[in-house]
């Protein structure tokens, strides 16, 4: 059973988000890059399912040439193959992204090339909540979002999603796609040796297919919401602060 995890390279931001002068991007001059935690779980699940069912796990990304770094993380986790739909680094919109991914995921006969395709529930940066659904619709396969548990049995995928007070269970015929939420599994840490090996593995680079669409959502600019930051009122140091904390809890906040 062949699986694919779709991942997106995003800045690894820390305590502060700084924008570029033109307000179009996060200033990444001092930042590393990563993927969404949801997508880390998607990779882990793709590898486990492929291992348990005698198949191949592939990681797929649309992004700049440097996104091979994130694909290699997937390879180091022991995914078998990696494909990069290489862009010039400009931000791709969700419909365009989905069309390019769907094109790369469909085989020669326009049938899906995989049995199970895993997406993050939403991407870490833009969080459009739609790329996976658009891919599934284009490939005419079932999709469930927000999945926190998955089992493959009798040629079906059984997907669970948490709702208030319980869990919804869905049964999907394969091939199928899901949007994964963090917590589904514990993504493995890649060993140093696996990381070294992944560096030597080849990554298939393809030109993404650019679709044509009516209407659009167009980014104008980004804005860091007005910061309400200001130094906290320091109640004291170490255990000396305890009386002041008790006063705060009792008199000001009335929680005791």
């Amino acid at each position: 059973m062949d699986t694919v995890a779709c991942i997106k390279r995003v800045p690894d931001t820390g305590a502060k988000l700084t924008l570029t002068d033109d307000e179009q991007h996060i200033d990444t001059s001092h930042l590393g890059f990563t993927i969404s935690p949801h997508e880390e779980c998607a990779i882990e699940e793709a590898i486990q399912v492929a291992d348990d069912h005698d198949g191949t796990a592939t990681v797929l990304s649309l992004g700049p040439a440097d996104a091979d770094e994130q694909l290699r993380t997937g390879l180091a986790m022991t995914a078998d193959e990696a494909t990069l739909l290489e862009t010039d680094g400009a931000e791709w919109r969700p419909r365009e992204t989905a069309a390019a991914l769907a094109d790369a995921l469909s085989g020669d006969a326009d049938d899906p090339d995989f049995d199970l395709c895993l997406f993050g529930n939403e991407s870490a940066d833009v969080a459009n909540h739609q790329v996976g659904i658009r891919v599934a619709e284009q490939l005419d396969i079932p999709f469930v979002a927000g999945v926190t548990d998955l089992t493959i049995a009798d040629g079906k995928a059984v997907a669970e999603r948490d709702v208030t007070g319980g869990t919804e269970v869905y049964e999907l015929d394969l091939p199928a796609a899901v949007g994964v939420k963090e917590g589904m599994n514990e993504p493995r840490y890649a060993s140093m040796r696996a990381k070294m090996q992944a560096r030597k593995q080849s990554i298939e680079r393809q030109d993404p297919v650019a679709g044509e669409f009516d209407g659009a959502i167009e980014k104008v600019k980004l804005e860091a919401p007005e910061s309400t930051d200001g130094a906290a009122e320091v109640l004291g140091e170490g255990t000396d602060a305890v009386p002041a904390v008790i006063d705060l809890l009792r008199d000001d906040l009335e929680v005791v």
Binding site: T13, A15, L17, I26, S36, P37, H38, R93, P94, R95, E122, D125, V126, A127, H129, Q130, I133, R134, A136, E137, Q138, V144, A145, G146, E160, R161, G166, T167, E168, V169, E171, L172, E182, G183, F213, G215, A216, I217, E218, V220, K221, L222, E223, A224, P225, D229, A231, A232, E233, V234, G236, E237, G238, T239, A241, V242, I246, L253, V255, V256
Partner: protein, 320 residues
């Protein structure tokens, strides 16, 4: 016309749907358009009474027994067919799992762009809107150009407001034409959880522990503190990754969003992805050894110190 997708439990609308409805009414008022709603299930008939107060003139109750069970594609196809019939200017859905999912399917089925998690929308020929990125730590200003604009309302960003004038609401059945394939994804069964106690999302006090806690057993102190404050314990992603707490306890962008009266953040540095999860807290008290930690700028109150000393001492004091 502006069409709003309303989720409900037994005929009473969900909070998130009322938030979305509030955004939808703003759009309707600004463009002098009528406000209508679409809802599923036999009990949607009862929505006529409650939605009138929100200015809804017509509730389109999708009438097909098979749709009483949640089926994302079939629900989306029904809304898409209603859109074909009514040609609304915009469709607004709540920023919930279902709202995002159903609207994204509508977008895919009718080849329309969709703007998720909107904060503010200026309707004109092209909509000028702002929406959340990075789980809410950044705002994107964007232009949405489409025959029908698909929008979801960011959760907890709108407070449900009734209309200045209630509308006379009529409930009309809508019968979509759906073939079996539209039902390939539907809820097979629901397993009820036997969890008791306050949930993280609803707790009035949350005591969060991060990497600074140092180990799973050390959460005992935090549990004790949460216990005396009538609250519950949460964690940072770093602590969850260490295996000290289950992912259900994670606060942040890819965890739970909390909105307590008080959040006590112990040994947590204050990364943006953590802080978007506790934006809703009325008060934040940080306990951290590092006076330069980012959380010191984001909290309201702080104790500079070792949580392993401060928290037990606090527990003792609260015990007296």
């Amino acid at each position: 016309m502006i069409l709003s997708f309303v989720e409900h439990a037994g005929g009473s609308p969900d909070e998130a749907s009322l938030e979305a409805l509030t955004l939808a009414r703003e759009l309707a008022t600004a463009t002098d358009a009528s406000l209508e709603a679409v809802a599923f299930g036999a009990e949607a008939a009862a929505l006529g009474e409650s939605l009138g107060a929100y200015g809804v003139e017509t509730v389109h109750r999708v009438a097909d027994e098979r749709l009483d069970t949640y089926a994302p594609e079939a629900w989306a196809e029904s809304i898409a067919q209603l859109v074909d019939d009514l040609d609304p200017e915009a469709v607004v859905a709540p920023g919930t799992d279902r709202g995002q999912e159903v609207l994204a399917h509508v977008g895919a089925k009718r080849d329309l762009p969709m703007a998720a998690n909107c904060l503010d929308v200026e309707p004109s020929d092209v909509y000028e809107l702002s929406r959340q990125r990075w789980g809410g730590s950044l705002v994107e200003h964007a232009r949405l150009d489409a025959d029908t604009k698909l929008l979801t309302a960011a959760a907890h960003e709108f407070s449900p407001e009734t209309a200045s004038e209630a509308a006379e609401t009529s409930v009309q059945p809508f019968e979509p034409a759906l073939d079996e394939s539209a039902f390939r994804v539907s809820v097979d069964r629901v397993e009820e959880s036997d969890e008791t106690g306050v949930s993280l999302g609803e707790a009035r006090v949350v005591v969060g522990g991060g990497r600074g806690v140092g180990g799973g057993e050390d959460y005992d102190k935090l549990e004790t503190l949460a216990g005396s404050l009538g609250g519950t314990v949460g964690a940072s992603r770093a602590a969850v990754n260490e295996g000290w707490r289950p992912h259900d306890d994670q606060i942040g962008q890819t965890g739970t969003k909390i909105s307590p009266d008080l959040y006590v953040a112990c040994g947590i540095s204050g990364a943006v992805q953590h802080m978007v999860g506790c934006k809703g807290a009325d008060n934040i008290l940080a306990i951290n050894t590092d006076p330069e930690a980012a959380i010191m700028q984001k909290a309201d109150y702080a104790v500079v110190g070792d949580l392993h000393e401060v928290v037990p001492e606090l527990n003792d004091a609260l015990d007296d």
